[in-house]
């Protein structure tokens, strides 16, 4: 059985160069009782174009994994909407079942995400069988995919997850994610648990598969080097909100949001003659329960002024125009002394 590209199967509706996924004001809160609420994802907007890789970075508690789970519809959002290739997810035009066939996810823990009692070929064939593919066809396809991710089916198909190394298991998880022929693959820290030499192999595999199957990736990672390498655009999250989003090189070369700057300068220098002398931020990332008013970064921001604790900055175009940042210093006439004057905006 061959793995068809979507241009031929009529699934691609809008054509190339249109958004594959549009997330509008996605919100997910987890109530803790006694009035406390974890505002894990709080009004997140982003677009993923067809064929591109959107990197998502941020520290623990910033909402990147919750965003992934909402996008996958593993948990329902409280508010907001998602459009997949122009159709609302969960509507009559695109049922949840159809959507899930086209969007798949790979998790960080390669062992926990595989059923220990299924052989790996059965694990990979499971999804297609649920979606109505006969067992013999699903197994054939599973073996095809195993070969595609670099695991010889003759040696590996009948093995159980505990008989594989971490890198091999993650290849199985990638094969399983591809079994339904998805168009969007969400990789949530998918290479983070791997050793560096194995991580490079899996990154090469992900790039090959992206090209071969015309995939679109949402690549979540705390490793800024990896994100820079694999992404076309990057979204930086802080306490449940997007603080900056834009093309990868532009964002890394000229970060505009103070948090993006801090995150990038916290990267080890890799130069013994030019070591980091000062930590860009003090303290730990705050708890997303009852986040600060106004700009959520203001209590840790070296440039914070009165306005920052009062008003929430909206995402504003910065740089060459492809990029947005949510900072009062970038909003004309915001009241921050370093904001551009209003007339410059025109």
């Amino acid at each position: 059985m061959s793995l068809s590209l979507h241009a031929e199967d009529g699934l691609d509706r809008g054509g190339a160069g249109t958004p594959l996924l549009e997330a509008r004001t996605l919100t997910k809160h987890f109530p803790l009782g006694r009035g406390a609420v974890v505002r894990a994802v709080d009004g997140v907007d982003f677009t993923v174009m067809k064929g591109e890789t959107l990197g998502v970075v941020g520290e623990s508690g910033c909402g990147k994994s919750t965003t992934a789970r909402v996008v996958m519809q593993l948990i329902p959002q409280d508010e907001g909407q998602m459009l997949f290739d122009g159709e609302a997810v969960g509507s009559s035009a695109l049922s949840l079942k159809d959507y899930r066939r086209q969007a798949q996810m790979v998790f960080q823990d390669s062992f926990a995400s595989l059923n220990p009692r299924l052989t790996i070929e059965d694990s990979i064939a499971f999804g297609p069988m649920v979606h109505g593919v006969p067992k013999s066809g699903a197994i054939l396809r599973a073996r095809d995919l195993l070969a595609r991710v670099g695991l010889d089916p003759a040696r590996f198909a009948a093995r159980y997850p505990h008989e594989l190394s971490g890198g091999q298991r993650q290849r199985v998880n990638i094969a399983r994610a591809l079994a339904l022929g998805p168009r969007l693959v969400i990789l949530d820290e998918a290479v983070s648990a791997l050793d560096k030499s194995v991580e490079a192999q899996v990154l090469n595999l992900l790039m090959d598969l992206r090209e071969e199957f015309g995939l679109t990736y949402i690549f979540i990672s705390h490793d800024l080097n990896v994100v820079r390498f694999i992404s076309d655009r990057v979204m930086v999250m802080y306490l449940g909100e997007v603080v900056e989003i834009g093309p990868v090189e532009e964002l890394y070369d000229d970060p505009r949001h103070p948090y993006t700057k801090a995150l990038l300068s916290a990267m080890p220098s890799m130069d013994p003659d030019n070591r980091t002398m000062e930590a860009p931020l003090a303290g730990d990332p705050p708890n997303p329960i009852n986040p600060p008013e106004g700009c959520r970064f203001h209590p840790r921001c070296p440039q914070a002024q009165t306005i920052c604790s009062k008003a929430k900055p909206a995402l504003t175009p910065v740089g060459a125009g492809q990029r947005l940042a949510a900072c009062h210093m970038e909003i004309p006439g915001s009241g921050h002394s370093r904001a551009p004057a209003l007339e410059d905006a025109a």
Binding site: E59, S60, S165, G166, G167, Q168, D195, K196, S197, V198, E199, A200, Q201, L203, N204, M207, H222, L224, N225, V226, R228, F229, V248, E249, A262, L263, A266, M267, P268, S269, M270, D271, P272, D273, R275, T276, M277, E278, A279, P280, L281, A282, G283, D284, P285
Partner: protein
Amino acid sequence: MTTPLVAMENVTVRFKGAQTVHAVNGVSLTLEPGKVLGILGESGSGKSVTLKTLLRLLPESRTEIGGKVMVDGKDVLALGPQELSDYRGAVTSMIFQDPALALDPVYTVGEQIAEAIVRHEKLSAKQAMARALELLELVRIPSPERRLKAYPHEMSGGMRQRAMIALALAARPKLLLADEPTTALDATVQIQILLLLRQLQRDLGMGVIFVTHDIGVAVEVSDRLAVMYAGQIVETGTVRELLRDPRHPYTRGLLAANLHGAKKGERLEAIPGAPPPLNEAPSSCSFAPRCKQAQDICRANLPPAVALGEGRLVRCVQAEAALQPA
């Protein structure tokens, strides 16, 4: 020449069981007082086992340790129970990856630090608590008086890591062993802890052995680096030497895999395959099956440890060849 603080000579560690695991296979290393050695390696390379050998933390009944381990003039492998107990904490102390596991959940941070102080110094409980407060100030925990009475679960990850460092420093050790202490931390917190460790090391003049899988982290804190693979040190040198002129193919592969300066969209120079199983002591180069430059001799014999200069060793037959001008 000063006597080294740490001198390990041809140390081997085997774990016995249904299958013998050859975790460390002939490691020799030295550390001068007041210096920082980074040990770089992937899972199963033997870096943590090497560290635990220095503190005799491995289960005695199942572990066979060979070779010689000298720390501060003491033969660590020959210490009796009482001597070992005096040695731990006062001469050598250790910090771990997960402070939530390393700290006792049912005692306050202050009680735990004071307990360690009283164990090694003749101080009253009150004096010990005062010194615990000093230690929390030393590791720059905000509002230390309050934190002294806090339980580990009441602290954030970065704060707990600072508390564990304070605990490790309680008996003024000469050697601090750090086993991936920043791996579980967020990027902006990791750099704070690295800078703190670097400053404490300088101020207190401690020797530090810092184990990590992250080259960036190792470069940030170390004077010298040792790269481990399959239980052996395959290359040592100063940070500068290893970064600018890596000689072992494995070191080169690791540097390439770090993606620092990797070109977008280009395939990575990934090391193929996976590390070898450790159920046999190596009789040839352990890296040969994954090495692009491997020759017949690499698969037949153990590679020589080629000395390229003071403290610069490369365990590869081609280390010298690379020295000759082309």
